[in-house]
């Protein structure tokens, strides 16, 4: 009898505890829900404001709808979380295939600034030809900084990660070198440091920066935001879209190096891209020139757009002179 009593008391306690837990969780959830609308005030002040849209038309909106947008300040650029990205930005690139003549200035600049010393460059200009009867063209391929990056999905340790500003970067102090990301990437853009990278120059530069008080305050230690500085044996490297240049208000090295203005770099939120000479509306450029994304059918959602090689400004043949099937990184003799 006593035993039975004990059991029912236990059951009661057990049920009571569970109920209490559910209530507590529910309560927290409810309070979260009720918090949300507070940020957007729904009181109509009746006060109207005139604003100009990106395409130049004047519109009127209620003053209460207008909020102060944190526009990317220098501070944002300097003090952002490396894994979160630069706030309120979404970087994109447009590559105009009609202009590319395989000058390879992009590749040399990239190799130089990222101290690429292996056998495989991070940006490559492919000689493409879909079928025997179709016209060949030159196609520069960088990391596509996909919004659905296959490489990030398979990384077992979160060494390669996707940021809110669109970049896919690698933390080479965490990478275990399993190369699953390389197997997963359909664009074959990832490279591996099979041996100790021979980056003699860079270690020298880093030492100099350390000694120079003007540079000492600046970031000189290794960061995913400047890939290749330094590269680490047994880890993966790739194009990083040059956030180190963006922070100094500069364009990625391939963009500024290209003599033909093939590369446009910009911000999708601003709807603006520039190749250093002209600044264009991204949406209009893609519309006018029938922009597309490379192998978009895979569902990777790249951040790089291509403009088809129509109405070419250059001869395909001109590029053959620079074409080197078996080399993309110049080796010191």
């Amino acid at each position: 009898m006593e035993n039975k009593n004990k059991n029912s008391r236990r059951k009661f306690l057990d049920k009571g505890l569970k109920l209490g837990l559910v209530t507590a969780i529910g309560g927290i959830g409810l309070s979260k829900l009720s918090c949300k609308p507070e940020t957007e005030s729904d009181t109509d002040t009746g006060e109207k404001m005139e604003l100009m849209t990106t395409d130049g038309t004047i519109i009127q909106v209620d003053a209460s709808e207008v909020m102060d947008v944190d526009h990317h300040t220098k501070e944002d650029h300097d003090n952002h979380d490396v894994r979160e990205g630069i706030p309120n930005r979404k970087f994109v690139m447009v590559v105009d295939l009609a202009k590319c003549k395989n000058a390879l200035a992009c590749q040399s600049a990239c190799n130089k600034h990222h101290y690429v010393t292996g056998d495989n460059a991070w940006i490559k200009v492919y000689k493409m030809q879909e079928a025997q009867d179709t016209a060949p063209y030159w196609m520069p391929v960088t990391c596509q900084h996909c919004d659905q990056p296959a490489c990030v999905t398979v990384c077992p340790v979160d060494a390669t990660f996707k940021r809110k500003d669109g970049l896919v970067l690698i933390d080479n102090t965490r990478c275990i070198g399993c190369r699953f990301c390389m197997a997963a990437c359909p664009y074959s853009i990832r490279v591996f440091n099979w041996s100790e990278p021979d980056q003699g120059e860079i270690t020298l530069n880093m030492d100099m920066d350390m000694n120079d008080p003007a540079h000492a305050a600046h970031e000189v230690h290794a960061s995913p935001e400047h890939a290749g500085v330094p590269s680490v044996k047994g880890t993966v490297d790739k194009c990083d879209f040059c956030p180190h240049a963006i922070q100094n208000n500069e364009l990625p090295h391939c963009v500024s190096a290209c003599p033909n203005g093939v590369f446009y770099f910009g911000d999708k939120y601003e709807d603006t891209v520039t190749n250093g000479e002209e600044t264009l509306r991204l949406s209009k450029l893609l519309e006018d020139k029938a922009g597309y994304r490379f192998m978009d059918e895979l569902g990777t959602k790249p951040s790089v757009y291509y403009l088809p090689p129509t109405d070419r400004l250059v001869d395909f043949e001109d590029g053959l002179e620079n074409y080197n099937e078996f080399q993309s990184v110049e080796k010191p003799e």
Binding site: N120, K127, A150, C155, V157, I176, A184, W194, S195
Partner: protein, 438 residues
Amino acid sequence: MKTKEQHIQSLIPKKFNKIEIIWMSFLLLIIFAGFLAYVDQLINGLEVTNLNDYSLWGIYISNFVFFVATSFVGSATVAILRLTKNEWRTPLVRIAEIISLAAIAMAGITIVIDLGRPDRMLNTFIYARFQSPITWDVIIIPTYLVVSFLLLYFPLLPDLAIMKKYYEKSSPKLSKWYGKLSLNWTGNEAQKALLQKSVTIVAILILPLGLILQTIDAWLFSTTYRIGWKSTNFGPYFISGAFVAGIGALVVSIYFVRKMKNLEDYITDFHFDKLGKLMALACMIYLYFNVNEYLIPAYASTLNEETHLNTLFTGHYSTIFWFVTIGGLIIPIFLLMFKKGRKPLPMLLIGLLVVVASWWKRYIIVTPTLLHPYLPIQGVPESWREYFPSLHEWLITASNLATALLIFTLLIRYLPVVPIQRTIDEEALLTTDKKIES
């Protein structure tokens, strides 16, 4: 009919004979050479391999897949034959369990050898991300290792007690070890009931774990966009392939174990005949999945898939492809149809053929796919368009295989390969049955 003492006498582990000592030295030599090659790889990086940014996985990964596949034999024989109440498994299960344990242990080591930064191996726990198939592997391999060990260890307890008693006078030191490992087994009813229960639990566990292990292994490949890997067929394809590889390894092992340890009375032609039928079944199932994987896709292949299939059917890898398909599947199925084909010696030859083909099968699952990326291979040294393992890779792989064989040889040196207690019990059961009948 043998007495209990006679059974113990013929099944108790014996010291290495001359041939076994030569075999062990041979294995140790290979292991040592591989060890030196690995030290060199640690110092200089994976540069010592012929891997490159296109052929980013090679013989280490295919060898890993081979080990994982071979480790399936424990699940296949113990669990499946147990569930289907095939009593003939008794003298074979322990050898199968030993193969499983040696193979899965070496699978774990092989995958570390492939890492660019083995020193950061613990990152897979510290920063583990559950969405990566590698994390699933990191979970399932140790789990399978532990359960495989228990599946070997639990049924060993009565035999360990027998060996403790047997060696009491001749070798007190060995006897002490066996005694410790036997966990004070006396064979009373309570212990027997507990053992029965424990063995049942691990024997049931090993089957789903084995299936999960093989499937995760397949998912390492099928979760990528690569042509030749991205296949919904890959899970069952790997499971059935593991069935073939495991049984092949078992057939070869029991042939040599029987010969070296004079176990002709225990492992008879009857067992080979049964195993032969099981191997034929395994090969037929695998052939079915091969047809699904290679032949049917050829009908509606995209250009990229066609290039891939062509390298297998008629191109660079056609020799290996047809060897593993005809030599490793079709010929064994044909020969195993005949009763003569299921005699010990033909079975050994078929088993060897199946094991070798199974190894190369993994090689052509891993390698050719990587050489056909979506983008053309340009701007890299010409040698990167092909892949063949370097001397370092061969040495390290050979030493991995030798280590698995070393673990196997050591375990069968110190453990009775045919369960002693169980053989005695089953025979007792058989005689009482006969008495009742008469």
